[in-house]
């Protein structure tokens, strides 16, 4: 049971992220929802590469006794975190501009483009 707790955490994060994106009308909370989703996807990738009792895959001065965790998912997560940063920074600066124009960041009011 113990080994699949991270997968439960992944499902919880993804469900929470989707909930925030779907029902929270504050634009900043939607951005928080997307970064929750992103955290869930990253955690999922990391737990895929886990080996029981493995240490971080760094060869420099590594104790030769223990086995190491898979390095490939960690490289994938690195890129995904960079992309997550870029997306969140872009969304936040757009929300700043939306507030300047609309005076509100409530998704129910920020919808001149409809119909």
């Amino acid at each position: 049971m113990l080994w699949n707790i991270p997968y439960i955490a992944v499902v919880a994060l993804i469900v929470l992220g989707l909930y925030a994106c779907m029902f929270k009308s504050n634009l900043v909370k939607i951005i928080i929802g997307t970064s929750l989703l992103e955290a869930g996807a990253n955690l999922f990738l990391i737990t895929l590469g886990y080996r029981k009792g493995g240490i971080a895959p760094i060869f420099t001065n590594a104790p030769s006794t223990e086995s190491m965790v898979l390095p490939v998912p960690q490289a994938l997560v690195l890129t995904s975190i960079v992309i997550g940063l870029a997306v969140t920074a872009l969304l936040l600066s757009i929300v700043v501009m939306i507030y300047r124009h609309y005076g509100t960041i409530d998704a129910k009011k920020v919808r001149r483009l409809r119909g």
Partner: protein, 114 residues
Amino acid sequence: MIGSLLSNAGVWMPLAWLFVLVVTWAIVYYIRSRGEARYHKDTEQVRPFLAGHPETSKAAMHVRASNEYWGFMEALKGYYHPLIKGHTGNLNDYICWFTCILAIVLVLVISVGV
């Protein structure tokens, strides 16, 4: 033959189609030119007969874009009203649509695929 697109049920040759178009246009133009040339531009013939009412300015008579299909949209009001209301423009609804379709597709694909 160059310029002929084969689909298993038929063939589409745009060049032949254009050739036929040009030939028919030539015939029609010939017939029209045989008619009597009694139409003179900018004369009394051009003005519409409105039984004596003053002619309103052309700009006012021009049918503006949004009431072009007024009848069509009036007839389908039952369909258009909910459809336009459905496009709320609210970002939350966009993502609600995504999760609904995700659920439906997953159910369909799993129920058949397994």
